[in-house]
Amino acid sequence: MDIKQNFFEFYSLPAVFEIDLGLLSQRHLELQKKLHPDRFAHLSDQERRLSAQYTAYLNEGYATLRSSLLRAQYLLKLQGIDTHNESSTPMDPLFLMQQMELRERLEDAPQHADPESELAALGEEVEHMMAPLQAEFCSQITVPAETSLHAAAAAVRKMQFLDKLRREIERLEDELY
């Protein structure tokens, strides 16, 4: 298989952060109807194999574009910056302090009098911090300058921290259930 198109091209969407999610999911279903292996169940092995490869690419593209963090990372990657796999980069110390405080609260959450609402509160706080970072990324990535690109990457690195925290919260919630 040789899919040269990037995910935005694959879905014929403009390569920007603020995409129409409704349109994305509509096109996703449209493409699934054409490409899914079930459409080829009665056909030859070869077509089934090919369709599985295309659908896997489609599913990955959908998962990437649907999530704001993955979409932001992907936009940077198209610009040659891989924030996902890079090793440590210096971070804003104030932000790190804030993260440490949140992590401490997270660690204490299971011993909290009402762990469930404590975790929910933490989750809300994370979402609150996420919103301005997305706005920052969105305004920086559109500017075709080196400094803006780096500012956009810095925002995504912070989003990655918050996302990790978000997943930790979910894991603890699962354990509580």
Binding site: R27, D38, H42, S44
Partner: protein, 626 residues
């Protein structure tokens, strides 16, 4: 139909003929087979008019196994040779079986092999073979009733089944000689049975309490597409556990001094099941029990039974909450709650679910048949009988897939609820200077420690050239197909050394074992096997030739140069010649050669179809915009 098809003598029969396809619900307690007849999905009865087939197999010293009612009737008197609830053993290792302990009244042997073999009068039987016997019985019933060979079957599995359990199910079908069109999640099948005639849209929750498993799935239905958003449950919790809870209570009431034997335990479980069923209609049940020399009248009412099963039911609603959260929807967004499985008839279960969702439940289709009915609808589409159908079922993997890394930790490559098919790759490196091999351990589960997850397979990538620690780059790729089955591939990037494995669970059957068993079943006539192989290769060749003919008519002129068309047509002529012969190996290699020759064409067609899908859409939007 304006196009003419030219068939050569001895060529495949009319390709437009309706294919016989069935949906099979291979259940813990009962199994069913259904098909679509004159547009309607129906379950197929046996000659005596019974639709369900008890999932019970009895092995005798002489002759073939008894399957279904006859076997069930002997469950108490011949417990060691009569296997019930084999689904609970599918894809399980010996360690899992030991955990179930004395609840299983069988004798196991060959315990060193990882997979549990049950000792019977007909020899050691693996769960896969036992399930294959049930499938054969259903296949026979369907072929007798439909009057022809089956083109394929959709077999349902609990959404929560892991890779090992799915693989075991598919192996059982292979062993029974059934072509699997798809392994379909039971909840999705149920949603299909409800969804199609009503053109519904919105979020559906499917609560499925089967004999041995509990599943909860959250689906979104839109324009014929059923998209599984999240799935959860407990593969070791089911209606049988309600019976067991009641049976344990009965033992306490009976106050039997000595230990109970297998037959006694069976007897009490049967009694418990019947009490449970009676409590659905009666508020109080009185029974007289006689076991191990003790005789007693016992009375139980609904509230007492409710108290016994309360914690089990609570486990199911907890799983519902988690599934909703995974799907990112609230309880209020759920439009319909579909109930599946005989145990959802228990009033306490219905009350608890209704209370949790705060909505009336969908119970208009028989909860025992709904899965098979939905699977038949899907089988009809997949067999190619409904080319205009818009129906599409998009599934997810129920449990995260990962690899063991340093310190016994799990690195997740594919998180649970990822849409399938999916392919994910990740790079790893060596940790010692001069390391030439890397052990790859594939696991499935949500926990962080390898020991807490299910071990799926282990293999080694060898021949890595000696390098400094951290210098080698090994890319591991996980591919999960539409059935939820995993393939793993490892590749050292600088040298291209490769190793791939179709993940066969450590305690599953290997491909050679399946082949041997298939051969054994044909051992009386080697000719049968040859004929079967020939028939299979002919079908493959026909399928490829037919779809290429269609493809050439549709896109040949646009997507291929005249030269390319000629090359392809020459290859087709060659395969047709081989197809007319009787050498199945030659046909097999002919199919491979033609597939390779048409790869590029198939790929261009996919791309063109993507373009068409998107362009079609753009036109719609323009029109909507007006």
């Amino acid at each position: 139909m304006a196009l003419l098809q030219i068939a050569e003598p001895g060529q495949s029969p009319d390709p437009h003929k309706r294919k016989l396809a069935v949906g099979i619900d291979l259940g813990t307690t009962n199994s069913l087979v259904a098909t679509v007849r004159s547009g309607e999905s129906v379950t197929l009865p046996d000659v005596q008019g019974r639709h369900t087939l008890p999932s019970v197999v009895r092995y005798l010293a002489e002759g073939g196994p008894q399957v279904g009612y006859d076997a069930h009737a002997k469950a108490v008197t011949d417990p060691f040779n009569t296997i019930q609830s084999v689904k609970r053993l599918m894809g399980r290792g010996v360690a899992d079986i030991k955990k179930l302990g004395d609840e299983l009244p069988y004798r196991f042997e060959r315990l060193d092999e990882g997979m549990p073999y049950v000792s019977t009068a007909a020899g050691a039987k693996s769960p896969v073979e036992i399930s294959a016997d049930i499938l054969r019985e259903l296949q026979r019933r369907a072929e007798d009733s439909l009057g022809g060979e089956l083109a394929g079957a959709v077999i349902t599995v609990p959404a929560y089944f892991d890779d090992a359990q799915r693989q075991a199910t598919k192996d059982a079908a292979t062993l029974a000689g059934l072509k699997v069109l798809r392994l379909l999640s039971e909840p999705t099948a149920a949603a299909v049975a409800y969804g199609l005639d009503e053109a519904a849209e919105g979020v559906i929750a499917v609560y499925d309490l089967g004999g041995g498993t509990f599943d909860i799935s959250i689906l979104r239905l839109s324009r014929g597409v059923f998209e599984v958003m999240a799935t959860g449950g407990d593969s070791a919790l089911g209606g049988d556990d309600l019976d067991l809870a009641l049976a344990h209570w009965l033992v306490e009431q009976l106050d039997v001094a000595q230990g109970l034997g297998s037959a006694d335990a069976r007897y009490l479980t049967e009694q418990a099941r019947s009490i449970k069923e009676r409590l659905t209609d009666e508020p109080v049940v009185e029974v007289s029990l006689a076991v191990a020399g003790v005789e007693k009248n016992i009375t139980i009412d609904r509230d007492q039974f409710g108290a016994l099963i309360k914690s089990l039911v609570a486990r199911t609603t907890r799983a519902c909450r988690r599934a909703l959260k995974d799907a990112g929807v609230t309880v209020d967004e759920v439009k319909d709650i579909v109930m599946v499985g005989g145990s959802t008839r228990v009033p306490q279960v219905r009350d608890a679910v209704q209370q949790f969702f705060g909505k009336a439940l969908r119970i208009d289709i028989d909860p025992d048949r709904v899965v098979a009915l939905g699977a038949a609808l899907q089988a009809d589409v997949l067999a190619g009988n409904k080319p205009d159908s818009d129906m599409l079922l998009l599934d997810v993997i129920p449990l995260s897939l990962g690899l063991e890394t340093m310190g016994g930790l799990v690195e997740k490559l594919v998180p649970r609820n990822t849409a399938i098919p999916v392919a994910k790759a990740q790079e790893f490196t060596t940790y010692q200077d001069g390391q030439t091999a890397m052990a790859i351990h594939v696991v499935q589960g949500e926990r962080e420690l390898v020991d807490d997850c299910r071990s799926l397979a282990r293999f080694e990538l060898r021949g890595i050239p000696p390098m400094a620690a951290g210098a080698a780059k090994i890319r591991v790729t996980f591919q999960v197909d539409a059935d939820g089955l995993l393939n793993v591939e490892a590749k050292e990037l600088s040298t291209g050394v490769e190793s791939r494995i179709q993940v066969k669970p450590s305690y599953g059957l290997s491909d050679t074992e399946i082949e041997r068993m298939l051969k054994d079943s044909y051992s009386f006539a080697q000719d049968d096997l040859v004929l079967r192989n020939l028939r299979e290769q002919q079908v493959d060749a026909d399928r490829l030739l037919h779809s290429l003919e269609q493809a050439l008519i549709e896109d040949g002129a646009v997507l291929l140069t005249p030269e390319e068309r000629e090359v392809l047509q020459a290859a087709m002529v060659q395969l047709r010649e081989l197809r007319a012969g009787s050498d199945y190996r030659a046909i097999e290699s002919g199919v491979k050669a033609l597939a390779a020759a048409s790869d590029e064409f198939a790929s261009r067609r996919m791309d063109a179809s993507i373009q068409r899908a998107l362009q079609g859409h753009n036109i719609d939007e323009i029109e909507e915009g007006r």
